[in-house]
């Protein structure tokens, strides 16, 4: 009865057919009757206030139904609550749309134009003219590090002696910088909002979590959350950008209320750079020291990340230095600088991806200073228990991952001497870097219904931004129920279904998978009881015998005490071979091997794609992605795909994704840990380390664009270091 495909190759995506035929509908692709279009107008100044907005021409333009700004916006109840006693500054928090006349960043939405067609709304938006009073602004992190303040309570931490690294016989101190990077999922953020009644709302929305979006909207509009229906059946990528209710969602909901018709609002690509968050530009400094034979003595890791003036976004890039390697003395310090720019947000591998670039680069630098192989250096400082909490790991096979990756990339071909290997006029280099991310199991509920015809229906409110959640859940259920995957229907992306958390933090397979597991086991048990035996039940026969049309269970599931007893992490290690052109400085990634230690792999086919996708995100981070702001105007100048580069097909070689695939005995019944974040974390360091091995030039400021490598021709050829 078993679907043999599940165990070997893994299932093909259960929603694949809908995706390859164009039948999968994403948030902007519904047509409630009478739907009209909203287009946002953005601020053209960076800081100051709005004196007036001339909306006459726009209102007169054909098809225009409304122009809404802070001048005429209906009161948004959730915003009022936050206002505090007179004289005190407002508490910080997410940006409030059309709240007052203040401009806090360039591109901030100041109005929404609603018209009967998209073209008419788009044109009318160009007719809205605002008068501003401008103020001086700061958009440069570099020029404002002096005003940095401690990032939350965990801004500072120490283990052992502060700055112990300085006493080590071999030591180095370096600065590492990452620019801001933008998620840029291919699907533009969009929403269709429709008020079914005065206090009843339906939205088709791009979100990583229908339940969180439901809560978020309920908080802003102060209506009971049961009255809000959130649909998000297909999500065209997000990578962290759809974890909160953004201003454009609020704009569409208000607009729909004002014009009393459903309103569709789809951001333009340029808005995607200013309106839905980004990975924050961060400066880091690492001091690291070791004994002559490569034992770490101490690490000091400082970071200053940018945030907005209205919200403190804290992602703790320095935590990697506390947990990755066994090291007795570690001190970290994390600060934020508030700039006149929109708020950053979680982006794939939040914090860790930034921190790991610095730490893995520093380890590599240390390996050359010590003349020890980078893998050997990591093995010498291998943490057998969690260095931070002292707890045992629930499972850790990272040492096997190092070996597996090294074998597959051909690590023995790597020369320990930089800039010493050339082939066909290109410099060749190898590098590696690792990543870690907490493995979490949250709580979720699954309804499992066995129907008379033998179909198993699974329902839970999770979203799938791409990794193939439904496919993984069906794989789990097929295994337990011992029925073919084709007999299972998985329903999700609908806030009326049982609770599931947002898809983020690499926790969905562990969390929702557990709920599916528990629900299926409970349902199967129910059948066994009915049948009076414990063998694999014949579901349809039992239902028929008992004259039942269906049998169902709704099961809530959450992690137990094990999460307190053990330190739970997923690990990855990335190996990269690069070719660098000595004259132009062009870096070509020639070969990539990624190994994930993320427990039991429940859905191998989609898991491989997830690792490959994360690795490609990491290559983008390493080699091309960079938000560029013209600080004279506080304006982002490369807000499009021609100027903000992300990898295209020609940039990417075949990528080998390998799994340790050993179950974690403590995290959940499947033994599965997350892998969305670790797929990317550590990759940028691996590429930078490979570039150094190829060229002898250490690039500590991402991205590694050709201009930073120009001139290697001479140095590489002359002294080879």
């Amino acid at each position: 009865m078993k679907d043999s495909a599940i165990n070997k190759e893994g299932l093909s995506r259960i929603d694949g057919r809908l995706k390859v035929t164009g039948a999968a509908r994403y948030s902007a692709e519904y047509t409630p009757a009478g739907m009209v279009y909203g287009v946002l107008v953005g601020s053209t100044i960076t800081k100051g206030s709005i004196r007036s907005i001339d909306t006459k021409a726009a209102e007169k333009a054909p098809g225009v139904l409304a122009v809404i700004s802070h001048f005429n916006c209906p009161k948004i109840p959730g915003y009022q609550i936050a206002s505090t006693e007179a004289g005190k500054p407002e508490p910080k928090g997410t940006y409030k749309l059309f709240y007052n006349n203040k401009i806090l960043f360039n591109g901030q939405p100041i109005a929404v134009v609603v018209a009967d067609t998209f073209e008419r709304a788009l044109f009318a938006a160009t007719l809205v003219k605002a008068q501003y009073t401008s103020q001086a602004y700061q958009t440069s992190l570099k020029n404002n590090t002096a005003s940095a303040f401690a990032a939350g309570e965990n801004g500072e931490s120490k283990r052992g002696t502060v700055a112990a690294w300085k006493t080590a016989p071999v030591k180095l101190e370096q600065e590492y910088v990452i620019p801001s990077e933008v998620h840029n999922p291919m699907e533009l953020h969009s929403i269709i909002a429709h008020w079914d009644a005065e206090d009843k709302l339906t939205v088709w929305d791009k979100t990583q979590g229908v339940k969180d979006t439901q809560d978020g909207i309920a908080n802003i509009f102060k209506i009971p959350k049961e009255n809000i229906q959130v649909n998000s059946k297909f999500v065209g990528g997000a990578f962290g950008s759809a974890l909160q209710v953004w201003p454009h969602e609020v704009a569409a909901i208000i607009a729909a209320r004002v014009v009393k018709r459903p309103v569709k609002l789809m951001l333009g690509r340029a808005d995607m750079f200013t309106s839905v968050g980004y990975r924050p530009h961060t400066w880091q400094k690492i001091g690291i020291g070791a004994t002559e034979d490569g034992k770490l003595v101490g690490i000091s890791h400082e970071a200053i990340g940018q945030t907005s003036t209205y919200e403190d976004f804290n992602e703790e890039p320095v935590s990697v230095s506390r947990s990755t390697y066994a090291c007795p003395n570690v001190n970290t310090n994390y600060k934020l600088t508030a700039l006149d720019i929109g708020s950053p947000t979680w982006m794939r591998g939040p914090g860790e991806a930034t921190g790991a670039f610095a730490l893995e680069s520093a380890l590599d630098e240390l390996s050359y200073a010590l003349n020890i192989d980078p893998i050997e250096l990591r093995l010498k400082n291998y943490a057998e228990t969690d260095p931070e909490s002292g707890k045992p790991f629930s499972s850790k096979y990272l040492n096997e991952a190092y070996k597996m990756g090294a074998d597959h990339i051909g690590w023995t071909d790597r020369s320990p001497k930089p800039a010493s290997v050339t082939k066909d006029g290109w410099l060749i280099g190898y590098g590696m870097g690792g990543g870690m991310f907490g493995a979490y199991r949250d709580q979720a509920t699954c309804r499992a219904v066995m129907i008379a015809d033998g179909t198993l229906l699974l329902q839970t409110a999770v979203s799938d931004i791409g990794p193939g959640t439904g496919t993984a859940m069906v794989s789990i259920a097929a295994e337990i129920m011992d029925i073919p995957a084709g007999k299972i229907r998985f329903e999700m992306g609908d806030s009326s279904l049982p609770y599931a958390p947002s898809q983020g933090g690499s926790s969905i397979t562990a969390t929702v998978g557990s709920a599916v597991n528990d629900a299926c086991k409970e349902l199967k048990e129910k059948f066994s009881q009915l049948a009076g035996n414990t063998e694999t039940p014949d579901y349809t026969k039992i239902l028929k015998d008992h004259n039942l049309s269906k049998l169902e269970v709704t099961t809530a599931s959450k992690g137990g005490d094990n999460m307190n007893k053990y330190a739970m992490y997923s690990w990855s290690v990335h190996f990269v071979k690069v070719c660098v052109h000595p004259t132009t400085g062009v870096v070509k990634v020639d070969k990539v091997v990624c190994v994930a230690d993320s427990g039991h792999i429940v859905s191998p086919k989609t898991a491989r794609s997830q690792i490959v996708g994360g690795a490609i995100g990491g290559i983008g981070m390493a080699l091309m992605e960079e938000v560029i702001i013209d600080h004279r105007y506080g304006k982002l100048v490369n807000n499009n795909f021609a100027d903000y580069h992300i990898p295209v097909n020609a940039d990417i070689p075949q990528i080998e994704a390998l799994f340790i695939n050993k179950p974690d005995p403590y995290i959940n019944p499947m033994g599965a840990k997350g892998m969305g974040e670790i797929a990317l974390i550590g990759m940028a360091g691996a590429v930078a380390n490979a570039v150094y091995n190829a060229t002898g030039k250490r690039i500590r400021q991402l991205p590694i664009t050709p201009d930073k490598l120009i001139g290697i021709n001479q140095s590489a050829m002359v002294n080879g270091s």
Binding site: S12, R13, G16, R17, L18, K19, V20, T21, G22, A23, A24, R25, Y26, A28, E29, T31, K60, A61, P62, G63, D116, T117, F118, E119, F123, H183, N184, P185, M186, E187, L188, F234, G236, G237, M266, G268, R269, G466, P467, G468, K605, T606, R608, S609, Q610, V612, G613, A615, I616, G617, N640, F641, A642, I646, P647, V648, N649, A650, I652, Q654
Partner: protein, 213 residues
């Protein structure tokens, strides 16, 4: 007529074989306004001039999409992409940038791949369009769709219709002779989920399989 599919937008008259001029002549309201200056002034004051402009500014478009013939009145500024998505409810073609920079909107116009966001609807008059919805033969998927499924050539699926339309054209153009060539000629289609290696494998399989695409 059986091959005509009424479009959804209320602003779009479905005409059969009329020229734009004939259509305008028939509009008695327009004729009356044109002959009566007083009415015209009143109309202008009541913003009727804009409404009239709205009608005047539309053009008649004959186009065949996935084998279905359409005759529509469209504003010349409407892109083929928005025409497909917003007026014909063919949402399989995706909008990723609206600027010709991502390939999500790729469709075939008379068999050639184009970015439908960079193509105005009125430019495809009398042409044949194939979108992702028109690639399969009923229940039978196109070999490229099958290959994308088999090789897992996507994750979120948003770039996928554009990738598949591009991939089919890539083979038809004779630009799929090696892995390197495929990568190069598929680089107009961005996939942020990073499915590139799987996409290349899918295309190679279809190419090597020798089926007609």
């Amino acid at each position: 007529m059986s091959d005509k599919k009424p479009c959804k937008s209320p602003d779009n008259e479905v005409l059969s074989g009329e020229s734009r001029r004939e259509f305008l002549k028939k509009s008695t309201l327009l004729t009356a306004i044109a002959l009566t200056p007083g009415v015209a002034v009143k109309a202008a004051e009541g913003q009727w001039d804009e409404k009239l402009a709205g009608v005047f500014e539309k053009m008649l478009l004959h186009v065949e999409v996935n084998g279905v013939k359409h005759s529509l009145m469209v504003e010349p500024r409407v892109t083929l992409l928005d025409l497909l998505r917003e007026q014909l409810d063919l949402t399989g073609t995706k909008k990723g940038c609206d600027h010709g920079q991502c390939g999500a909107c790729t469709v075939h116009v008379d068999g050639h791949r184009v970015n439908s966001c960079l193509t105005l609807g009125v430019m495809v008059n009398d042409k044949k369009i194939t979108t992702i919805e028109g690639l399969a033969k009923g229940d039978q998927l196109h070999p490229m769709q099958e290959a994308f499924l088999k090789h897992d050539g996507f994750q979120c699926g948003y770039c996928t219709p554009g990738q598949i339309m591009s991939a089919v054209a890539c083979i038809r153009e004779g630009h799929a002779n090696s892995e390197g060539e495929i990568r190069e000629y598929m680089s107009g289609n961005i996939c942020r989920c990073g499915a590139y290696p799987n996409i290349v494998n899918a295309i190679q399989e279809v190419k090597d399989g020798g089926q007609t695409v």
